[in-house]
Symmetry: D2
């Protein structure tokens, strides 16, 4: 951490900064320039102290962080790539994982037919929402317990692991039993109560990026899960909120490379929520693989025009099959399989 | 809702839109132009249906909402201003409410001295955090249960109602008993499980705007609380996330006027979190009153340089007294009292 | 500037950083921690060197700026507030300046009646657009030369200085002759050719903030004008682009306080463009004065429903008179006159 | 255009809307619902009228555009893809174009060696900046006229067309003579004086997206050029400004698909400015090709650590050769050549 004193700061003020650093067990070095004094605060874990604990001291002009504020999720903490194992499927290895299925589970038939179609086309995991966080209280909120039962039925029938979103720690026991991967949605990325609960379960989980979260805050949220005991966290980029309105969100494709550089956790991409429109999903899916994503999370529905949620961004079965063929070519160009 | 068909859409496709509208009980009117057909979908509650339920139909180019998607929070639903009553204090009336206190409760002494200082200076409610949602799991997380006990002690000792943030529905019973106003933080604005629980309690509550939420989504979140039975919701603008870095968030001062126009709920402003720096807090506080806010939520600490959280944006007691004097002049210029 | 080396950076790499600093004439100090080396680069004008000139060197992890990258516009360069003198009007002193008039000059009658109405109501300068930068080439582009002639006529007839936007350096001579204050619009904030030309003219000028510009970049743009010889620059906050859609732009009210703290230049606010709707203009205008703005730039039209541009955000004469009465009360509460 | 009247709007107010529509030569249809009247305004060119011309009328609640506000750049106006021809190179056809070279031309040697290295590696056009728009007036502003002379020399020596940015209409004649493709930078996207001048020249040109511009505004800017006579416009996505700070800008990868759907103009991507760091450039370049971009604009420098501008985001010759090999595989997977 670097503390820049104001021009004309007194010796006493400089000492105040030095003393505070010492209370945290950090070393300091003074840099006395013609105009200003700058105090360098050194130590391997200065990232754990908020910059404002120094910024608030008298005579301080600004404080700059050198160490990143996340820890367990960082590549400095663990250099080797984390691979998340779900049965015999590995996420974060050479094979790209495609997770596909409906936004909401609407009925046994709808879910089963979709699960069959996507696994036949090459998807290795099936997604389906039982509890749905919706912007309006007057929208369809998911089949809830009934949906969880269908997740259990279908994973046995289709022999594929299932992924489903958890929105309430109360549902944890039920979902841990019947679901293979727990998803934490973008709206809950900073719901720390939920992050801790899922982290403690040790279950493989997908942590979506909050729609106004920086990559740094996202990795701090992963820290909550890792600090609670989980080692099985998959990050999922799903678009951030910007001024652009031609898509539902703006897919931050560069975040894939930033996460790969700064963290050991695997990262997948959700092109469906980012695009908001089925026509744009294939483009974003291809770009995600070319950027090096470890997997994709794609919404597919047997009849999007009658879906109870997210129909506009859902692919039909034949759209999905066509996309998988395109993705195989990109995966191959990237030296991976799909 | 207005559905614009693609150029050359077939009669069958137009009928598809009309039929879907009828299934929701809406009326329709066709507008047949030289180039395109436009279907107007009419009804007093078309706002409850997502636009994508039409956008997904074949032959549709775009769908535009006419009715707002929130309902119970809208001024169309309830024309008269809602006034929230907390003991003998009214929020949303001619008197501006100032809620002040420390970010986190750190000790009995710290909280009591602050509560005394702010109420003597004219604050009518005291704030203090017991459970703290922090970006990093390694930061101070609040005194928790002990903090709630201090809230109870201090409200009796100072004879002022207390405001505190709730982050987990599990804490509801405990907090309903010892706290006068429950605050839902920005990070939890879309934690619908929490919104419903607080709504059901019927307790006066403050709903902070999510840092990437539009005013519309914020009012939809209020709908969750109102639909769960509460009639006592106070909105709180606290800044949104933008590209600007000289402040912690960008205070959307215009949202005060937009909420006043479109909703019946009272709105207050939190200048402390928006600014992120104590030097900028008075400016934002004055601007908020001049914009017509019904109150302010301000962080004050006996010794900001040693605060365990948010010290940089906390005012000292004397800063706060000086600010209150300035605010009285602005309130008066607005025809209000403070 | 603070250069953080990667863990394990070689002595040669550290020396590379030190040598580069010396080529710029800067001093350096090494901070050798347990984990990393940090090089502090000291000097009174390190702000003039881009951080990337160090970031690009081998072994460097990150570079952080300590000195601000703008210079002539900074309060460190000139401590005392700049006051811009236009005839006997001062902008940046105790009296708040109100600049009002139509977005576009449409005719002699329209402009004259507006100029009379706003000056009678207390405006001290009259605005009127002759050359209009419009998003679409098919929109009305202003009366152009004819508009400049009307600016000359009206300033003589109403005895008030006139403000008008310049969009092309070719128009400089013509506009310097007939206009008292040249306005540089938000879309041209980074049109450095134009900034230099206007700066060289020495004419009082208004520099609007670019809609995606940070306060720092805005002050760097002011540096272009100051470096070209002008000392008469007034900054104008007019809203930035964010995800919120209920207003045309998001007024960054805090920028008024940030500019007052970090720069000596006066700052005014344009509530009309930020709001985009006449109903919201008075709220933003009052908030601006309460935030400490030195003036306002407000669009007024005799018949907004028939305006050729920006009618929706224009006030009628009676709206404007009512607003001026409200503003007088706020100015008084701020210890200023209007 | 759809005009929604307020609840309780009078017949006279509705007639006001209808009459205004007729003055523009549009047809109207009334939709009278239980609660509100909605007026549909029909015609093939309603996009040319700003929505506010109706929003400002008494009794109107909101106005929604159906037709897009850009025209000449739209696929509705011209269905077939535009291909831009530069000598025997085509941009917008099956072959992906790679434009590479230094940010700034610094010397004959630097520019010649780079031009040779990139063309040998497969780049078909060479870029090099002579006039540089820099955020600070104290930064290197380019070699200017001398740079233009070097563009001429090098294009003859290397037998490749050259691309260079124009920042001032005054330089048009000089640049039209010596440069094959004129680039309009992001900061000048709304400098309409410059757009018209370049449009009138008829020269092939690259129009970069403004850093806070929507895709719609970008296509309106293209309309300025097309309306001035040019038919040779190439769009270039280079990242937009968002809250994320781990990259210089956020590459809006979806804009490639949106532009391909809604416009006939070719689109290329600049991964260098978006990333801001050479490590992230290859990821963004690969993603751009997988998204369907017609080309790339990449910064390459013989010695990035000593570049006078943008060194941090420049590739070395060997980085560039390695990237070209990767890109060939992606292009092939997309059914294109490179």
């Amino acid at each position: 951490m670097i503390v820049e004193m104001r021009r004309g700061a007194s010796e006493e003020q400089v000492n105040g900064v030095v003393e505070r650093a010492h209370t945290y067990g950090f070393e300091t070095q003074l840099n006395i320039g013609t105009d200003k004094v700058v105090v360098a605060i050194l130590g391997s874990d200065t990232g754990r102290v908020p910059t404002e604990n120094f910024a608030v001291l008298p005579g301080v002009q600004s404080v700059t962080r050198i160490m990143r504020p996340y820890k367990l999720a960082s590549r400095e903490f663990k250099e080797k790539d984390t691979q998340v194992q779900i049965g015999d499927i590995v996420i974060g290895g050479p094979k790209v994982a495609v997770i596909a299925g409906p936004c909401s589970i609407e009925s046994r038939d709808q879910f089963l037919s979709t699960a069959r179609a996507v696994t036949e086309a090459g998807a290795t995991l099936v997604r389906g929402g039982a509890y749905k966080p919706r912007t309006s209280p007057f929208s369809f909120q998911g089949l809830q317990e009934e949906g969880v039962n269908l997740l259990e039925e279908i994973r046995q029938e289709v022999h594929a692991p299932v992924v489903s979103e958890i929105i309430d720690p109360h549902h944890l026991d039920e979902m841990v039993e019947h679901v293979d991967v727990l998803q934490i949605g973008a709206r809950n990325m900073a719901n720390y109560t939920l992050l801790r609960a899922v982290g403690r379960s040790g279950k493989p989980s997908i942590l979506k990026r909050g729609l106004a979260s920086t990559v740094t805050e996202w990795l701090q949220a992963a820290d909550y899960m890792l600090a609670s005991g989980s080692a099985q966290v998959i990050l999922c980029e799903r678009g951030i909120r910007t001024f652009e309105t031609s898509t539902r969100f703006t897919l931050d494709i560069a975040s894939v490379a930033v996460v790969k550089r700064d963290s050991h956790l695997p990262i997948i991409v959700d092109p469906s929520h980012a695009a908001g429109h089925y026509q744009l999903v294939p483009t974003l899916a291809r770009a995600a693989l070319a950027a090096g994503a470890d997997g994709l999370l794609i919404e597919v529905h047997p009849d999007p025009t009658n879906a109870l949620s997210d129909g506009l961004q859902s692919l039909t079965f034949s759209d999905f099959r066509r996309l998988m063929a395109d993705l195989r070519l990109i995966a191959q160009a990237m030296g991976r399989t799909l």
